[in-house]
């Protein structure tokens, strides 16, 4: 499994409440990924993020030899604030430790991980961040041909930090963007380049996008109001969002790229 949650604000109504909304969404997908968690929060003003000291946590029971690791915050990119936290351990405790509910922003991704193909460490946690524009990606699913694509990227001088399959997709998308693709085009190409199961949510400094594999193996629900659009793995992760009763709720079609830009 794995749980994903993404939130994009269409105006500033809920800017100060973004973290609280995402914290509720993360709680709603916590059971899908109990071994680690991560969030990426975009702000629309350049800032130096207030990064708390995130302590390492003990290794996950049943995964021997994996020490707890924390990646406490990635510095903001010039021109756009981006803060990323990733950590091994219980997603709800993670959210409390980073003070997620008190954080403001305009766009965020969250992920809860149940590792199936690579180690349980903070470096293997989502969201993965790649490229000059600091594109962020969360993934529920698995890629079969990530090793082949990783080698191709290495030939271009693009080196992934880990052996994680999802990280390859983040770097590949960033490479396509650097080659001139808009995000929709890059994601369309991804659906024919990557073999496997995926629901992906992707953010950049100004965009929020969702795409699923050709047979939509992994769940995804989108809810949209005048003020926000959210994607989650399970409906229960939407339940605390303001105005949900009047939201348009739908499941994204396979291979269709859904994109919102600010």
């Amino acid at each position: 499994m794995c749980g994903i949650a993404g939130l994009h604000l269409k105006d500033h109504t809920y800017r100060e409440r973004l973290g609280a909304m995402v914290a509720g969404m993360l709680r709603g997908v916590a059971r899908r990924g109990p071994d680690s968690a991560g969030v990426a929060i975009h702000d629309d003003v350049p800032d130096v993020p207030d990064v708390p000291d995130v302590p390492g946590v003990p290794g996950v029971p049943g995964v021997p030899g994996v020490p707890g690791q924390a990646v406490p915050g990635v510095p903001a990119a010039p021109g756009a604030g981006l803060t990323v936290f990733r950590e091994v351990g219980d997603p709800e405790e993670f959210a409390a430790r980073i003070g997620l509910a008190g954080r403001a922003g305009v766009r965020a991704l969250a992920h809860t991980r149940m590792a199936t193909e690579s180690a349980v460490t903070a470096a293997h946690c989502h969201p993965f961040v790649a490229g000059e524009e600091r594109l962020c990606l969360v993934h529920n699913g698995s890629f079969a041909n990530h090793a082949t694509i990783r080698r191709r990227l290495a030939g271009l001088g693009i080196i992934t930090e880990t052996d994680n399959d999802s990280e390859v997709a983040a770097h590949w998308l960033a490479a396509r963007r650097a080659a001139g693709d808009d995000l929709t085009t890059a994601l369309r190409r991804l659906t024919t380049t990557f073999d496997g199961f995926f629901t992906l949510a992707v953010t950049t400094a100004d965009s929020f996008a969702v795409v699923r594999d050709p047979i939509a193996c992994k769940p995804a629900i989108i809810a949209e109001t005048d003020h926000w659009v959210a994607v989650v793995s399970e409906y229960q992760a939407l339940l605390g969002l303001p105005g949900l009763a009047d939201a348009v709720v739908f499941e994204p079609e396979p291979e269709e790229v859904y994109l919102w830009a600010s």
């Binding site: 709603g28 047979i215 939509a216 769940p219 629900i221 399970e234 409906y235 229960q236 339940l239 709720v249 499941e251 079609e253 396979p254």
Partner: protein, 241 residues
């Protein structure tokens, strides 16, 4: 207040319902309490909050109302029970249903009525991908649209779609029959449109009536069934086997 299979339950006397508050109990506690009810009992689950596996494996003729959104597999594996969901439902609503009814008063996610052997699953909104996958004799009625690959590998039973059907309808179909009131975006491999007989009109009409769909005219549905070329041995192709 009264004890019900070790769980504290409240009786709503006006509605003659036993009320279980899911905010205060585990899914196992709630399901154990429901399974302990006698034939004819009525129960309501409050605060479901999209939780999975609610009202599964019920084997008595009880009526269970889920007062809000349900998660995966709601009403699955049931026999004889009547389960109503007052909201949307997640994956696999009524999965492997044996008999009885599961009704969703909203949209259903993927694989509604998957592998249902008997009984009736009603979705009053739209159903997502793979509705009726591997249906084994049950009935599925969807008031709105169904997504891609509806009735994939369906072996027996009947599906009624009150709205439109997505791509790959009836792919690799065996002996299940599909009736579609709206448009069909595309047929799957080994599925075809067939002439509507009087028996089909009666079957579609009976299913629409059971589901309470008055927007479906059984005289004007499209019948989709199997070409039967995929699962029959053909001596002309013996070299390929």
């Amino acid at each position: 207040m009264g004890e019900l299979s070790g769980t504290t339950a409240v009786v709503d006397e006006a509605r003659d319902e036993i009320v279980l508050d899911l905010a205060a109990m585990s899914t196992r506690e709630a399901n154990a309490a429901l399974r302990s009810l006698p034939d004819g009992a009525r129960a309501r689950l409050d605060n479901p909050a999209g939780r999975h596996n609610l009202a599964v494996g019920l084997t008595r003729a009880v009526h269970v109302r889920i007062a809000g959104p349900a998660g995966y597999y709601v009403g699955g594996l049931g026999a004889a029970a009547e389960v109503d969901v007052d909201g949307p439902a997640g994956w696999g609503v009524g999965e492997n249903l044996m008999s009885g009814t599961v009704r969703v008063r909203g949209a259903a996610s993927q694989s509604a009525a998957a592998s249902a052997h008997g009984g009736l699953v009603v979705v009053e909104g739209d159903a997502s991908l793979r509705a009726g996958i591997s249906l084994k004799g049950g009935q599925l009625a969807v008031a709105g649209d169904v997504g891609r690959s509806c009735a994939f590998l369906a072996q027996a039973g009947t599906i009624l779609v009150g709205g439109d059907a997505g791509e790959a309808l009836g792919d690799s179909l065996y002996e299940a029959v599909i009736y579609v009131a709206g448009r069909i975006r595309g047929l799957g491999t080994d599925a075809r449109v067939e002439d509507l007989t009087e028996a089909d009109v009666a079957a579609a009409g009976a299913l629409a009536a059971a589901a309470g769909f008055d927007h479906v005219d059984p005289q004007n549905v499209t019948r989709v069934a199997s070409v039967r070329s995929l699962y029959h041995f053909d001596t002309a192709h013996h070299g390929a086997y």
